[in-house]
């Protein structure tokens, strides 16, 4: 749609601007403030320049957490995106079963995150959980509080359980918008199932898929509550992702300077990667002629 130039539109944006300034800019400036100062306690601060940033850049702890975070986000994206598309392709197109599937699939998305953690904490326990009990009965040594691989597997399966439906719903919305004529044309050409997917369905759902990837990347990169409830970041530090580490540093140890420097770098990394996704997304939007 061609839009008209109207500078007065700023007045319509103003309420949002004021609200977001209050709840985002002021807190963010506090963080910036802490990141360049040091304290001896008693609320006395002095200028520390970029020392905290240098310290954090050299800190093995942060790099390890970042490494784990990237590994986690990569793994869950690699599982959830294909699985979500696959599920969407198999969903009923309309009628009673379609709405039933939609409702049941949305269910995990509406569960408070700590309850998601609690559900899997219980589900995976060897003594009282169905999953843990079954695995133990099959003779598999599974203990997510002690074992590195079990902890990672639990956290990843939990995230797949929690969020695959989001990807599936988005892909489903994209698939629904493809006109029947496309499929009929493919049928006349005797295109194989794979070719229908590759040349009709995939290009058509690319736009929503980018939204799915963007949302999943952002949210998995900030994940805190679920792994915190299930593993508490352990065993050792093996599931301590960036947010868990940050909260430990800021609210647990009250190391304001390093935590603030950490926050800013953390935020910038998310921003940078999201910007790339966003640019790709808007370009796709333009190409599709929206």
């Amino acid at each position: 749609m061609n839009k008209t130039v109207n500078q007065k539109a700023w007045f319509l944006i103003l309420p949002v601007l004021l609200l977001v300034a209050f709840s985002a800019v002021i807190p963010l400036m506090t963080v910036v403030n802490y990141s360049v100062q040091d304290t001896f306690g008693q609320n006395k601060f002095f200028w520390a320049g970029l020392n905290w940033f240098k310290e954090m850049m050299a800190s093995e702890r942060m790099w390890d957490a970042l490494g784990r975070q990237i590994a986690f986000s990569t793994i869950i994206l690699a599982i959830e995106i294909p699985l979500g598309i696959f599920v969407a392709l198999n969903m009923p197109k309309k009628g009673f079963w379609a709405s039933t599937c939609l409702i049941l699939m949305s269910l995990p998305l509406l569960i408070p995150w700590n309850v998601v953690g609690t559900i899997w904490q219980i589900f995976g326990r060897v003594d009282i959980g169905l999953l843990g009990y079954t695995l133990a009965a099959m003779g598999i040594d599974y203990n997510y509080t002690q074992d590195f691989y079990a902890a990672w597997a639990t956290v990843i399966v939990m995230d797949v359980w929690h969020w695959t439906s989001l990807v599936a719903l988005l892909a489903y919305a994209g698939l629904q918008s493809i006109p029947d004529a496309y499929y009929q044309a493919a049928k006349i050409d005797q295109a194989s199932r794979w070719k229908v997917f590759r040349f009709i369905e995939l290009p058509k759902i690319m736009g929503v898929l980018m939204i799915a990837i963007l949302l999943r990347f952002m949210d998995s990169f900030m994940i805190y509550t679920e792994p915190f409830v299930v593993t508490g970041g352990g065993p050792g530090n093996s599931t301590t992702f960036l947010s868990i580490d940050l909260v430990k540093m800021a609210l647990g140890q009250f190391d304001l300077g390093p935590a603030a420097a950490f926050s800013i770098m953390y935020y910038l990394v998310i921003l940078l990667i999201s910007y790339v996704f966003y640019t790709v997304m808007t370009n796709l939007d333009k190409r599709d002629g929206h």
Binding site: K3, T4, V5, N6, Q7, A9, W10, L12, I13, P15, V16, L19, V20, A24, I26, P27, L28, V31, V87, N90, M91, P92, S99, C101, L102, L104, L107, L109, L110, I111, P112, W113, N114, T118, I119, I122, F123, I128, Y133, W161, S165, L166, L169, L170, A173, G207, I211, M218, M222, Y224, S243, L246, A250, S263, Y266, Y267, I270, L271, S274, H290
Partner: protein, 282 residues
């Protein structure tokens, strides 16, 4: 394993045409629902049954866990508090986001693209980064442990989301409608409230759903900003860890009760949900 095949064949029977699809969906839904079923199952048992015997369904059905929660104010006030700040957040976010989304969907103005992305960056901000500054900010203005503090804090990620979704829906409304209304002599506020808002009603419904969703599921900020008076249910749940170990039954019952509001809301928006998740961009 027998569970798997059973569900699949049953569904396959009901829908003989798309059997392969039905099996995939059956398995996926089973995967989604089993953990939830297990929580429900546990919430209907007493603690000795939970800990001493492994049963697939409650042998000794009891509603005591639910009665504990629904009769104890320190428990059920958690739900009330969560509801209050969620509704406040929905109202605040919608009121500020509606005009902004309209502006973004209709006009070009200085810095609009940058502004839009800047708004989105707030959706990308990790709550962990904001936990401490929020705590200090709201303490210093005397809003700590109030519902409005949590509602405002959640506006950080909900307002950008609302603008984003609403903008997508508003783009779908033809511009000719605006022009015709202005020619007919409608003033902007009257046009916006009487004509435009009803046109994007489904979009507003879907947006409200998402605002509800993200405010309802969030724990880190709501826990940091409250202590007693506005404590959300999610934080109350940590109470079940007592001297005698964890009260599993009550914990499970509290979990089940947090799922119910979400399930109800989903039911109302079920026909728009897919479009909504695509942020109105399909």
């Amino acid at each position: 394993m027998s569970d798997f095949t059973n569900t699949a064949t049953k569904r396959g029977f009901a829908l003989p045409k798309i059997k392969g699809n039905a099996i995939v969906m059956g398995l996926y839904l089973l995967f989604l629902l089993l953990p939830i079923y297990w929580l429900l199952n546990m919430s209907l048992k007493n603690n000795s049954e939970i800990l001493n015997s492994f049963t697939l369904w409650p042998q000794d059905l009891t509603f005591d866990n639910y009665i504990t929660i629904l009769t104890d104010p320190s428990w059920y006030m958690g739900y009330v508090n969560s509801m209050i700040y969620v509704v406040m957040n929905m109202v605040i976010s919608l009121v500020v986001a509606l005009p902004a989304a309209y502006a973004f969907s209709r006009y070009t103005f200085l810095g609009d693209k940058h502004l839009f992305f800047w708004l989105l960056t707030n959706r990308m901000a990790p709550p962990a980064v904001f936990a401490l500054p929020f705590f200090q900010l709201y303490s210093s203005v005397g809003l700590f442990d109030t519902h409005i503090a949590v509602a405002l804090a959640h506006a950080l990620f909900n307002v950008p989301l609302a603008v984003w979704i609403l903008e997508g829906f508003m783009r779908g409304v033809p511009k000719e409608i605006d022009e015709t209304a202005y020619i007919d002599g409608y003033s902007f506020p009257r046009f916006f409230l009487r004509i435009f808002t009803p046109l994007v009603a489904s979009g507003i419904g879907v947006t409200a759903f998402f605002l509800f969703m993200f405010s309802w599921v969030e724990l880190l900020l709501s826990r940091t900003l409250t202590s007693v008076n506005a404590k959300p249910i999610a934080a109350t749940m940590t109470r079940t860890v007592g001297a005698a170990g964890i009260d599993w039954g009550v914990l499970a019952a509290a979990g089940v009760l947090t799922i119910i509001p979400g399930a109800l809301v989903i039911y109302f928006v079920r026909n728009y949900i897919a479009k909504g998740f695509a942020l109105g961009r399909v």
